[in-house]
Symmetry: C2
Subunit: 413 residues, 2 copies
């Protein structure tokens, strides 16, 4: 079961003025489940996105990039689960285009105003007949109140839906931030097999939104790992509908810092939700790397730990076999060359508040029972102090259990 994942059934998911959501059961892969989502976005909204760096990126990702850079306003999103439309060559691009065209016709907008998203099995073609015949139903039930249904409609191997919502007062106006995400496996930046959508009714000028979408992704969805696999389809979108009374064109405007913080905090909750629902996860770990020379160094060390099968199986067993953490730190240079001169004699490792390694060696004060008492928790923090600079990053990861193997050995069946 997910690790302390916020339960969306009892959550207030505030509508975002200017953003309507509609779903359908398209039988893309399985019958009787919501698997198609259409989002309608009001005219004049700003939309920005960040996508996977996987070279085998899916056709819809390529098309999203193209449509976003065209400069025309984005008016709709269309999402299907059950098939990733990746590794599908020219046919995949035709299918993604046809999907946009169908949505555009139903909504009387341009095809280039539609962003398509797919998630599911790679190396299979989209079942276009089923997908296209599901679209009218999704468009017919578009409503601002459908966030919960939308969270269900984008799930794949997720055990539970993921959503977050917040209202805050900025310059005497009420501003809403609401978002959903999905993902549980093939999760590693940049980015994860994840889709994330965050919407606010505040107005944010397009170039400013582009800037902060990248920053927020780097501090949220690009700080998580479940299994170290970077997917072909990852996409994170922020929509600023501009229907509230506050509009931002610069970071210096009063109230912007508050909105930024709310967007970031909610993106982090959605990102962490993916780790909490990580395939087979029984523990949630926050790994903070301090004293790196650069953020890239800190991330490389954090992810070396966060994706090591040996570290993750030890946490599954609640076994403080913490030397495996040192080993992972020691090979982080594989993904960040500047770590080749890492001096391990400067490194301290804390598990919770317990000093485990002091200047690269076993701390004299450390006892196995101190380590054990931290390992027994479901939520575990660890801190690595590299003592070579000022950069700091926190990444989030989960343990590696029998169920990870079961889920991924069974995924297609």
């Amino acid at each position: 079961m997910p690790v302390n994942l916020p339960e969306i059934e009892s959550m207030a998911l505030y509508p975002v003025a200017g953003v309507k959501l509609g779903w359908a059961e398209g039988h893309i892969k399985k019958a009787n489940r919501k698997d198609v989502l259409v989002v309608e976005i009001c005219e004049g909204a700003s939309v920005a996105g960040v996508f996977t760096l996987n070279r085998f990126c899916a056709a819809p990702v390529t098309l999203c990039r193209k449509h976003l850079s065209s400069g025309d306003g984005i008016r709709a999103l269309v999402v299907n689960t059950g098939c990733a439309n990746a590794g599908t060559g020219e046919q995949g691009m035709q299918d993604a285009l046809a999907t946009c065209q169908a949505v555009a016709e139903l909504m009387a907008i341009e095809p280039s105003a539609v962003l398509p998203f797919s998630t599911g099995v790679i190396l299979e073609n989209l079942p276009m007949e089923r997908l296209l015949s599901a679209l009218p139903a999704a468009v017919n039930n578009l409503a601002e109140t459908n966030w919960k249904e939308a969270a269900y409609a984008i799930m794949t191997t997720d055990v539970a839906p993921k959503a977050i919502s917040q209202q805050l007062t900025i310059e005497n106006s009420t501003v809403t931030v609401t978002g959903i995400s999905k993902g549980a496996g093939m999760i590693h930046p940049n980015m994860a097999t994840m889709l994330g959508y965050l919407a606010t009714d505040a107005g944010i000028e397009q170039s400013l939104l582009n800037e902060i979408t990248k920053e927020i992704a780097d501090l949220s969805f690009n700080c998580i790992s479940v299994d170290g696999d970077t997917s072909t389809n990852d996409s994170f979108i922020i929509i600023a509908s501009g229907q509230a009374d506050v509009h931002f064109t610069s970071r210096q405007q009063p109230g912007f810092a508050e909105l930024y913080q709310a967007l970031l905090a909610n993106a982090q909750v959605l990102a962490q939700a993916i780790v909490r629902d990580g395939e087979g996860a029984t523990k949630f770990m926050s790994v903070t790397i301090q004293g790196a020379k650069t953020v890239a160094e800190a991330k490389a060390v954090g992810f070396a730990i966060g994706k090591s099968p040996l570290v993750k199986t030890a946490f599954f067993a609640s076994d403080p076999n913490l030397g495996r953490i040192l080993a992972a730190i020691g090979y982080a240079a594989r993904e960040c060359e500047s770590l080749n001169d890492l001096d391990t004699n400067l490194i301290d490792l804390y598990l919770g508040d317990v000093l485990v390694a002091d200047k690269g060696g076993l701390a004299k004060s450390y006892t196995e029972s101190d380590g054990q008492s931290v390992m027994d928790h479901q939520e575990i923090d660890m801190t690595v102090q590299l003592n070579r600079g000022d950069a700091e990053v926190t990444i989030w990861t989960c343990d590696f259990s029998y169920d990870y193997v079961r889920i991924n050995a069974d995924y297609r069946t």
Copy 2:
């Protein structure tokens, strides 16, 4: 159980003149098992080594590098299992030195002529009293015929011992090549949680041996992955005792190519043996990457596939969910920047002889049952043709099973 691992009980392990092996039960971690090995090497032999690139390398690795570079002849090796002497700071170095001194006294040689090796749990100090009191017994039973016992004495989580031996005729002389290795988890170059020792009675001049040891490691022990974790203690040693009638000072000498080929082939068997005995392995996969621009590119793609938990669990399930292979190829640029311009539309993927992906998309001729028939085998070859250059590499890896999790959740208990 290991996948087609050669059984050493029935294997002829030819003695190598000038190399004697002695073992003891030191109770380093568990009682009643061989866990200490001493190797005596005749005067005048050449010895070369290749070691882990992990920055948290163990004290014995640091000391091996120092002793090898001192230029004095190496006359002995000492190996313990059960404790890695890594993450042990200054105490670890003192312990490694004291071990060399004790062996040196027993054998009347210089401490700098001894190479120390440790393997086992990280972040624990060596039990020096038990280790030192085991050494006399090991020295007392030194014999050229002890290769089989030596293979047992270096095991940790290995299910079975690993050895190989060959005799060949070079320039009318009989030359022997015999070796042992150990390793099953924390296996990923450079290098793996492995120890490998290969000895020949041929003579090979020191600088030539240094050169070929690196080359042979790159084509054998640096081409395997079990779990993507690079250990703190990996070491691969070649000993050329010079007791046979052939002596080489240059690659151009008649017969050298044969000896080189024999050393390489035997190193590859020992390296593959580690994968065949990979923790929880049920399948052995050979991944060949062709048409890369450089060997580094080919290795990055091979290891992205070979260490992907999603690929490895699909192979465990014999499920031809082959899109996961494309996804792994697509993110290989994480470990090799030159792959950032990889054109996925040029890539072909073969599973055995079956064309799966053709120019980056699902091959028209591919059927699920063709893929399934290859997946059902225990030994599986796959070939990725990148079509962007001439470099080619084969790496070896295993699948990811429930037993991997069980073994690594239980390792210390």
